[in-house]
């Protein structure tokens, strides 16, 4: 009888299964992976210690970058401006500094009018502790974003983090030229708990996570045309989506805004009576809508392309 001997030579450092999950990655890891290697230059980095002026008043922990990473990098050699929210710090919520960093980036993009912007959303909305500053920041960001777009700058949103894209984040996402979302990503304004609190559990059971995802999750947003690209939960897939959407993003004109209005009216007309996302998917032409949540990435992309044109001139 002998004990098991270990073949130490075989033990390598690199794990066997290793895809870089977007959902798992930090804001910094997402930025690193999204851009060409070593191309990222951060603006107002953590060493500047531009922290929230409000959190100390509430005796709360701060983060040196206030949960927002902004800077300049390259994709395939072409320069892009990037902003990434850290969804684990205060749920990625917007505060004064956090918001100002994104607003400043968008204004710079507007003034230069030569580089696209990528916003890596991961947010529950506005920070309660700095609500006024946060709400103001949302409004200013939306204005700066639209000004940048009118200056011809594509602004592309990427959604696939653990905090989703809620509250003011949902409004900003709605202002973007184009969006990519993964299955884990959620886009909405009011979150599940907010809806349940205001309208009752019969209206929306926030603990029913299957319901939450089929109402706000990435697959649903792609199917109803809220997002142009459905990304796999890998940094590589989001990089490809960003590359594609930067090229695709149309500049807004009066025509595109009117087309968007018409599309939203049509959506209400088509789906206004639906009680559940499953009904919407069925009326879009999905023969077995209840199977959609379980579909693999590839199968879902094929289905979504069949049911919903992948791009709109309007958003």
């Amino acid at each position: 009888m002998s004990t098991v001997t270990l073949d130490n030579a075989k033990v390598e450092r690199q794990p066997l299964v290793s895809t870089d999950s977007w959902y798992e990655a930090s804001a910094r890891q997402r930025v690193e992976g999204l851009l060409d290697a070593n191309s990222f230059v951060e603006f107002i980095g953590p060493e500047m210690r531009e922290i929230s002026p409000h959190l100390a008043l509430f005796d709360l922990p701060e983060q040196f970058d206030d949960g927002m990473v902004v800077g300049l990098g390259r994709i395939d050699g072409a320069p892009v401006l990037v902003a990434a929210q850290e969804g684990r710090f205060m749920g990625g919520a917007f505060g004064e500094v956090h918001g100002a960093k994104l607003k400043g980036l968008l204004r710079a993009a507007r003034d230069m009018a030569s580089m696209p912007v990528l916003i890596l959303f991961d947010t529950g909305g506005v920070r309660l502790q700095e609500a006024n500053a946060g709400e103001l920041a949302i409004a200013e960001i939306m204005r700066a974003l639209m000004e940048a777009r009118f200056a011809g700058v594509p602004v592309v949103g990427l959604v696939g983090g653990r905090s989703g894209c809620y509250g003011g984040g949902g409004l900003i996402a709605g202002s973007c030229s184009a969006l990519a979302v993964s299955e884990q990503g959620r886009i909405s304004v009011s979150g599940p708990e907010v809806i349940e609190t205001n309208r009752g559990v019969e209206e929306f059971d926030s603990k029913d996570r299957a319901l939450v995802w089929r109402t706000m999750g990435g697959k649903h947003r792609r199917l109803i045309g809220g997002a142009e690209v459905f990304a796999d939960d890998t940094i590589e897939s989001f990089r490809n989506a960003a590359r594609y959407l930067i090229e695709l993003a149309p500049a807004p004109t009066l025509d595109t805004l009117e087309a968007e209005q018409a599309r939203l009216a049509q959506r209400i007309h088509d789906f206004g009576d639906c009680a559940d996302a499953l009904d919407i998917w069925r009326s879009l032409g999905a023969s077995e809508p209840e199977t959609i949540p379980a579909l693999s990435y590839e199968a879902f992309v094929a289905l979504a392309d069949r049911l919903q044109e992948p791009r709109h001139d309007a958003r």
Binding site: N38, P46, P61, E62, Q63, F64, R88
Partner: protein, 105 residues
């Protein structure tokens, strides 16, 4: 919140030439460590702002072991802590020194 500061003598200068690095995030049970190469080679300073009050002795012990094992000479480490457990603190400190071993910036 409680603030703590520890200065230690380090045996050796930390490896690498990177000027700064940041690891971790501030969340419940987690922390961020900003590490900057701005001190003389034989010194190491750790600056902490923590949500968990009354753990000074534990911090001191964790940092003493860290300085002895990792020799972070020349480094200033600034910590924002969301109430991480000592094992997580020790891991992040080790990750921070390891991140400085690279080149550039």
């Amino acid at each position: 919140m409680e603030t703590l500061n520890y200065r230690n003598k380090a045996q050796q200068r930390a490896k690498g030439t990177r000027r700064q690095a940041i690891v971790g995030v501030v969340a419940s049970g987690n922390l961020e460590v900003l590490v900057e190469r701005i001190l003389p080679d034989g010194e190491c300073e750790v600056d902490i702002r923590t949500a968990a009050e009354g753990f000074g002795e534990v911090w001191q012990a964790v940092i003493a072991d860290f300085v002895e094992r990792r020799s972070p000479g020349g480094l200033k480490l600034s910590i924002n802590d969301g109430g991480a457990r000592p094992d997580t603190v020790a891991l992040r400190l080790a990750q921070a020194v390891s991140a400085m071993e690279g080149e550039r910036t």
